[in-house]
Each structure stands twice: as structure tokens, then as C-alpha cells.
């Protein structure tokens, strides 16, 4: 039999969906790695329930991994899949509505038992009742073929053989899209190094799936997606939380200050703690605290001692840190607070992204308590955003909030590996005693308004700081009315004066509509803007990194367009701020579904304003 014909595609969106225990995240992750090595641009969206193992076969237990890859620069994991791999009826039921008519559907027929159909709420099997007629269905007995292929491998139980079915599916998909498979085979050997029979079983399942694609008549063509023309350089894949962790280590190196992370496990921020805990050779101390409050407090204690204190959490933990952030405002010490936002209120939807914490981090403290706030825009950008957060915290001696979200945290994209030697150092100077001069702990740098950082151990600078209002210059406790007014103004001026650079605008000649976005929505919002432009519409786009202070030219930017659209995964938090501050009639596009925006809905919202 000759090789099958190869069809060229510009881009593909694949969604793997199965039970939480089916290994869909691993499957998607491996397919992403193979795809990255093919040189495609890609974006991923792991979408999973908070329950670790929801009841098998149930609708809430479905875990998905969507991957978009292309021969050109792309911005999002894709609005809708072209190909859906459904490992059981529940996965089919929850994901089919997203599959466009004519889309490709690959199902494991062995999972369509009466029991599983019932759990998914099907009266009759959709494989038999004709309800899938609008799709290109490939019904494959994945489980049976996997178990059959592994029956001769000694030491592998029937259950273990069955669990390898995800590798069969991965092998099949790897053939279908001509992915390089060596990295996955190596990965399996390493992952199961302690159980060679399991490694062998997974490799066999993978190879069997690959060969099935090659030989089965069910698949008549193979697809090819050529490498994308990205900027020259060396690339790797990275998720937001790993990039953020690396950024914090980089900030520690650039400032020559030891990194101290105080954290309490919370979804979707825990992987930052886990990542940093691995890197003790960089002098990183990670402290898994008894609670969110202690995590923040210990980080502030480390900053007091002259370290780079960082605390990470998600919204439900950040609320508990607010008193420490308030103390850091009063003490005027550096502290980086990272909020990996998730859907709320309260516990909300722990694994799902949202942008609902902006007003909380800006205003969620007692009294006048200004804190700089910035937000990362893509998974890879989390690296640079973390360095910038640390730079401002250290330079201005202030707590800084860095906002990420569940989508950036777990999503991945190709990342051009940065040249560390090209990163700008973070200059930090500790105070030293000057002969004959009285030390003034609240005497400010005229440019930054930062106070001296006098760390314990420095002779002659013994001093006390605290949450009580301090007299300007001396830092002694003061209840003087004029002093309190002055100190309140000074703290506000310091934050307002932080140099954040002018706001760049992706302008289009003739555009009178501006889309203003921030944070993790960059990908879908810009993809939506591109769609509008491709259809002949004229629209400009500005994506904010700094939410406090705003870039100084932001008012001018906003006023130079007739209409401003602010898409946010909240009920209009940034739009409220820009309306209040600049008196512009900004219009919001607000949805909080727990899923990232789709480029299509953004394009529609823009079109409605044109």
C-alpha cells in the first residue's frame, strides 16, 4: 500500500476531550510539544474541572484540551474545534455543540456502553441514531484496539492497558497531522522509567495508533501544516505560570536580591510555588505558609530583611492578603503580589479564567492605600511582566499587584527564549549610615519619592517601622493632622509618578473606533481586531499593561477616537475606571463565562460599533 495523499492546511484546531482520568491534559500537552517542534505557531487552552476525579463517565468530569496550530502567527487557541476527539459519551455531549457542521469527530466506540450513555444522558447511542450525520465521524474502537495490542506485554494489568488508550489516540492524531514523534517516545520512556513495562505499553499503544492511521481505510488523507514564519530565534513552549516563575528568578538575578516566595496552595496559582520550589540553586526560598495571610506576611518579612519578597495566589487568597498589602503601603517596602485570577465570587469556578479582580486589587484595602497594578497579556509575557513588577516594587519601595489569570497560567504558546544578558539590571541601593547625619527613614528620593531601604544588620540605621501613621522624614509615630494629609498625598504621588511609558496603539489609518483591552484577553481581542480588518473594517487596538498608574498619554489616546470599546471578562471594571478618569464614553463588551473570549465575538462587538 502506498502512502496516503497529503492535504495542506493553514491552521487546525483540535480538541481532545475525555474523562478527568483519561489523561487528556497529558495527551494535549504531548501533541502541543510535537506541534511546537514542527515549527508551527500554536496556542493551547486546557479546560478541566476543579474536581480531581469527578465520577467516571459523568458530564461534570469531562476534561478538555484545545490546541490551535498554524503555518502563520496566531493569537488564540481557536474559537471552535475543527476536530473533536471524544473519548466517551459525556465528552461528546458536552463538546459537540462547539463542533461546526462538517467538523471531524473521532470517538472511542468502546466507551459508548449503555452505562456510559446513560450517565451522559443519552437515551440512544448517537453513533447509531443518525444524530451525527452532519459531521465526519470516525468511529474507532480505541480501547479494544489498545488492550488487544498490549495483551502480550508482561506485567501490565487489563486496567493499565486500558489506561493507555490516550496514547493510542495521540499516536493516531500524530500520524494524521504528520507530527514528529521522537520527543513523545522519549518522554514516555522518561516518565515511566521506574516501570519499564508501563513505558513499553504506552509506547506500543502510541505506535499502534500511529500505524492504525497509516493503514486504516477510515483515514484516507494525511494533513500537513507547514512551519510558521515566526521571528528568527530559539523557541520553546511555555505556560504562563512557568514563565512567571522564571521571570521572578530573573528579577532576583537582575537585582542581586534573594527571592523569597510565600504561598499557600490555591488553584490556579499553585504551580508557581511548585515551579519555584525546584530552583533552590538560584537561591530561591519557597515557604508554603499556614495560610494566605502568613504567606504574604512572610514575604513582607523577607523584604524587610532586604530580599525580593513575593506572594502568589488567586482572588480568594488575595482578599486575605489585603491587610499585609496595606501594611506594605505604610511601611513603603517592596512586595510583589501575584493574583492569578479565576472566576468568582467566593470559590467560584477555580479552574476558569476571569478578570474580576481589577477593582479589588486597586481599591480593596482600608483607607487611601495606593498600589501599582500591571497585568500580563500572554503566557510568555508573564516572564517580562514579573520582571517589571519586581522592578517597580524595588525601585519605588511599594507593593505591586501583578494580574494573571487561569487562561494564561495553564495555556501555552511558543516562546522565544530570551537572552538573559540583554535584560536590564534592576539597580537597588540599600541605605548606609552617614557620619554625623541623623538617619531619616522616611526621607524620600526626589525623583521616585521612594524612601531609603535600611535593612537590619546595617550599623547605625536602627529604626522602627510600623502600621501607625508616621511623621514625614523621621518615621516616628505621628497623629499630627497636617502630617497625615501630607503623608497620604505623598504615598499617592509616589504611585501616580511611576514611570510606565506611553501607551502604544496599533492604529489603522481611518479608524475611529478604538478597542481598549488589558490582561489575558490580548490574544482573542487582537485576533478579533484582525478579523474586522480582514473584512475591510477600520479599527485601532490598544492593550494596557499598566492599570495603575495609567500611561500618561492614555487620555489623549482615548480622546482621539470617536468610540472606545472595552472588552473585559467582568462586568465593566476598566471601562468604569476610564470613564471616571477621562470622561470618555467607553462602551463595554462584558462576558463572564469562565472561558476565554472568542475572536468571533470580539469581531462582532467591534462591527456593531463601526
Amino acid at each position: 500500500m502506498g502512502a496516503k495523499p497529503v492535504e495542506q492546511l493553514e491552521s487546525v484546531v483540535i480538541r481532545f476531550a475525555g474523562d478527568s482520568g483519561d489523561g487528556m491534559q497529558l495527551t494535549g500537552g504531548r501533541f502541543s510539544s510535537e506541534t511546537a517542534l514542527s515549527g508551527n505557531d500554536l496556542a493551547t487552552f486546557p479546560d478541566f474541572p476543579a474536581e480531581i476525579r469527578a465520577p467516571a463517565g459523568s458530564l461534570p468530569g469531562v476534561s478538555g484540551f484545545q490546541l490551535h496550530f498554524a503555518d502563520h502567527d496566531i493569537l488564540t487557541p481557536g474559537d471552535r474545534p475543527d476536530v473533536l476527539v471524544a473519548m466517551n459519551p459525556a465528552a461528546l455531549k458536552t463538546n459537540l455543540p462547539d463542533l461546526p457542521v462538517g467538523g471531524t469527530l473521532i470517538v472511542d466506540t468502546d466507551a459508548f456502553t449503555d452505562r456510559n450513555l446513560k450517565k451522559a444522558g443519552y437515551d440512544a447511542s448517537p453513533l447509531e441514531d443518525g444524530s451525527l450525520g452532519a459531521y465526519q465521524v470516525h468511529a474507532v474502537p480505541l480501547t479494544g484496539m489498545t488492550v488487544g495490542a498490549l495483551k502480550d506485554i508482561e506485567g501490565v494489568t487489563a486496567r493499565e492497558a486500558e489506561r493507555a488508550k490516550n496514547m493510542f489516540a495521540l499516536g493516531l492524531m500524530s500520524w494524521l497531522y504528520g507530527r514528529p514523534i521522537e520527543s513523545t517516545l522519549e518522554f514516555l520512556q522518561t516518565k515511566f522509567a521506574k516501570r519499564p513495562e508501563i513505558a513499553a505499553a504506552n509506547v506500543k499503544a502510541f505506535n499502534t495508533g500511529y500505524a492504525f492511521g497509516e493503514t486504516s481505510e477510515a483515514f484516507s488523507v494525511q494533513y500537513e501544516v507547514k512551519p510558521a514564519k515566526l521571528a528568527p530565534g530559539r523557541y520553546r513552549q511555555i505556560t504562563g505560570n512557568v514563565a512567571l516563575s522564571y521571570g521572578l528568578i530573573a528579577a532576583s538575578k537582575l537585582s542581586e536580591l534573594p527571592l523569597f516566595l510565600g504561598a499557600y496552595p490555591i488553584t490556579p496559582a499553585s504551580s508557581i510555588l511548585e515551579e519555584l520550589a525546584k530552583h533552590k540553586s538560584f537561591g530561591v526560598r519557597t515557604f508554603q505558609a499556614e495560610d494566605e495571610i502568613a504567606a504574604a506576611g512572610a514575604a513582607l518579612g523577607a523584604s524587610f530583611g532586604g530580599g525580593l519578597g513575593v506572594t502568589t495566589s488567586a482572588g480568594p487568597g488575595v482578599v486575605l492578603k489585603s491587610e499585609t498589602v496595606g501594611l506594605a503601603v505604610a511601611l513603603e517596602l517592596p512586595l510583589v503580589v501575584i493574583d492569578v485570577q479565576r472566576a468568582g465570587p467566593s470559590t467560584g469556578m477555580p479552574t476558569k479564567p476571569e478578570q474580576g479582580d481589577l477593582l479589588m486589587v486597586l481599591f480593596g484595602r482600608n483607607s487611601e492605600s495606593p498600589v501599582p497594578v500591571l497585568a500580563a497579556s500572554t503566557p510568555g509575557d508573564c516572564f517580562h511582566a514579573a520582571i517589571e513588577a519586581a522592578r517597580v516594587a524595588l525601585t519605588y519601595r511599594t507593593p505591586v499587584y501583578l494580574l494573571s489569570d487561569a487562561y494564561l497560567a495553564n495555556g501555552s504558546e511558543p516562546w522565544q527564549i530570551p537572552d538573559i544578558s540583554a535584560l536590564e539590571p534592576i539597580e537597588v541601593e540599600f541605605a548606609r549610615a552617614v557620619e554625623g547625619e541623623t538617619f531619616l527613614p522616611y526621607h524620600r528620593d526626589p525623583e521616585t519619592l521612594a524612601r531609603p531601604w535600611a535593612v537590619p544588620g546595617t550599623p547605625g540605621l536602627e529604626h522602627r517601622v510600623g502600621g501607625l501613621e508616621k511623621a514625614n522624614e523621621t518615621g516616628n509615630v505621628s497623629y499630627d493632622p497636617e502630617n497625615h494629609d501630607l503623608m497620604t498625598q505623598l504615598r499617592a504621588q509616589k504611585v501616580a509618578g511611576i514611570a510606565v511609558g506611553d501607551q502604544p496603539v496599533d492604529h489603522q489609518e481611518g479608524a475611529d473606533v478604538l478597542v481598549l483591552s488589558w490582561g489575558g484577553t490580548y490574544g482573542p481581542v487582537h485576533a478579533g481586531v484582525r478579523r474586522v480588518r480582514a473584512a475591510g473594517g477600520k479599527v485601532a487596538h490598544a492593550h494596557l499593561r499598566w492599570l495603575n498608574p495609567f500611561p500618561r498619554n492614555l487620555g489623549d489616546v482615548l480622546r482621539s477616537y470617536d468610540r472606545v470599546l472595552v472588552p473585559e471578562m467582568n462586568l465593566g471594571q476598566l471601562s468604569r475606571l476610564v470613564r471616571a478618569q477621562y470622561l470618555v464614553d467607553a462602551v463595554g463588551y462584558n462576558r463572564v463565562t469562565g472561558k476565554p473570549f472568542k475572536a468571533g465575538e470580539i469581531a462582532d462587538a467591534v462591527e456593531a460599533l463601526l
Binding site: L37, G39, S183, P227, K229, L230, A231, P232, G233, R234, Y235, R236, Q237, Y246, I249, K253, P258, F260, G262, H279, K280, S281, F282, G283, R285, F287, A289, E290, D291, I293, A294, G297, A298, L300, G301, A302, F304, G305, G306, G309, E323, T324, L327, L331, I417, P418, D419, I420, P456, G457, P459, L461, E462, H463, R464, V465, G466, G467, N476, V477
Partner: protein, 302 residues
Amino acid sequence: MSELALTAKDFKSDQEVRWCPGCGDYAILAAVQSFMPELGLAREKIVFISGIGCAARFPYYMQTYGMHSIHGRAPAIATGLAVSRPDLSVWVVSGDGDALSIGGNHLIHALRRNVNLKLLLFNNRIYGLTKGQYSPTSGQGKVSGSTPLGSVDYPFNPLALALGAGATFVARALDIDKPGLTDVLRRAAAHKGAAFVEVFQNCNIYNDGEFDYIREDKDARTYLAQGEAFGETGIVHDESDFATAFALAQLSWEKDGVVPLGVFRDVQRDSYDELVNAQLANAGGDGDLQALVGSGDTWTIG
């Protein structure tokens, strides 16, 4: 130590002490300032961290580094400092509300981890700064601003709590008993790891006379001595034996007519900062960041 030639006066800051006249805190401050030269450390190597409450004003009066932080959070903040700066001598000053109510969680975890902190709990069994509400150490029946009919709460026994949390050093002293308090401070300072010291402290405004049975009567002050039977109890003291320390911690004036002062428990165990920093030292400190950011599967374009 003699080279530094510091005296108590060197540890007095220029701030006016503003506790109520007659407050037991004055005696504790004087004892601590007198003891400080014995540490043999330069002033810049010493840090006092407090939470909120009357006792929490303590750092302002010490000519060392200091932080007056957040209600209950001092042990957490001090943990971050102590683990990242093992060269410092870090002291935490708190009261019964601060350490046992709002900050109870931080206290037990600092003790459990054996962080190298000296934790002084000034126990006056009342909320003083908020003007006289009952505290978690107030006895049942305590009539206070917030318990006009008497408190129905069962109180904490701070020493038993600390022992239960796994503290490696637990002691008790009395505010105006300078020699006894100094002995305990000396032992606490010498202890590697977390040292927990309860100091009975009289609030002469809202809970006056709480400890008069030993404040007024020096003969009633009974001290623990290693290897010796304690008073009439027949319990032979052993600082390394948990059960002995726990049994002695149960003695109360009301029930037993005797309250032990001194060191209840003192055992050695690796401290948290030692263990954390040993892992760092083993890791080598030579991490290559360029290699780290370029780790995993990579590919080159162009």
C-alpha cells in the same frame, strides 16, 4: 561581648514610652533592655517584631531594628525575616489577644516549624488597647466590657497550647520578677529554634490584680529546677520530657495554689531556617538562568 560594651541604656530608643502608668509592660521593657547586652550582638543584628495591642508598642522603645506590624501576624512576618536572614536575632512581642486569638494559627505554626524566633507573650488576660474586653486567656466568669454577665468561654492555657504545637522551648515568667524573667530570657536566647515565653503581666487599668498572688508575695513564686521535684507535687522536673512539662503546665493558682515559673521544656531540634538554608546550600547556588529558560524541547527558526 565585652568589646561591644553595651548597656541597657544603649537599647532605649528616643521615643517616649506611652503605656499607662503602673503597667506591667514597663518592668518587662526594663528587664529586656537590661538583658540585651548579654546577647553579645551589635544592636543592628537584633530585630523586634510585634503585632497589635498594648504589648505591640514594644519595638518602638527598643534601639534595635523593629516592626510594629498587623494584629496577630508578627510570627508570620518574623518567619520570613528569620529564614532569609539567619544572621539576625529575631524577637516577637505579643499579647494574649494578638498571639492566641487573631494570630493563633501563626503562633502554632511558627512553633511547629521551630523557626528561630524568641516569642514573648505578655499575658494580662484582657484586651487593654480596646478598653477592657475579655481575652482568650480570661477565666470563665470574667466580667468585662463585652461580658457583662461573665464570660462563658473556657480559656486557653498558653503553655499547654505551645507544648501541644510542638514547641521546643516553653517557659513562664512574671513581669516584675526581674531575676526570674532575666533567667528565662537568657535560656530562651540560648535556645536554637522557637522559644516561647509566657510573661504574666498586670494590666492595672482593666484587669488589675490578676497575678497578685505572686506579684505581691515573693515567697509564693515557685521556680522549676531541672531534676528536682516541683514543690509539693512530687513531679520531678525534666525539661526534655513532654509529659512532665505538660503536667506542670496544668498547675494553676486557683486549683492547686501553686504556679510554676521558669523553663518547662527545652529540647534541641534542627531549626526551620537551618533546614531551609541547608537545602539551599546543597543546591549549590550556581543556577544557570540562561540554561533554565532554554530548558525542555526547543527549536530554532531562521
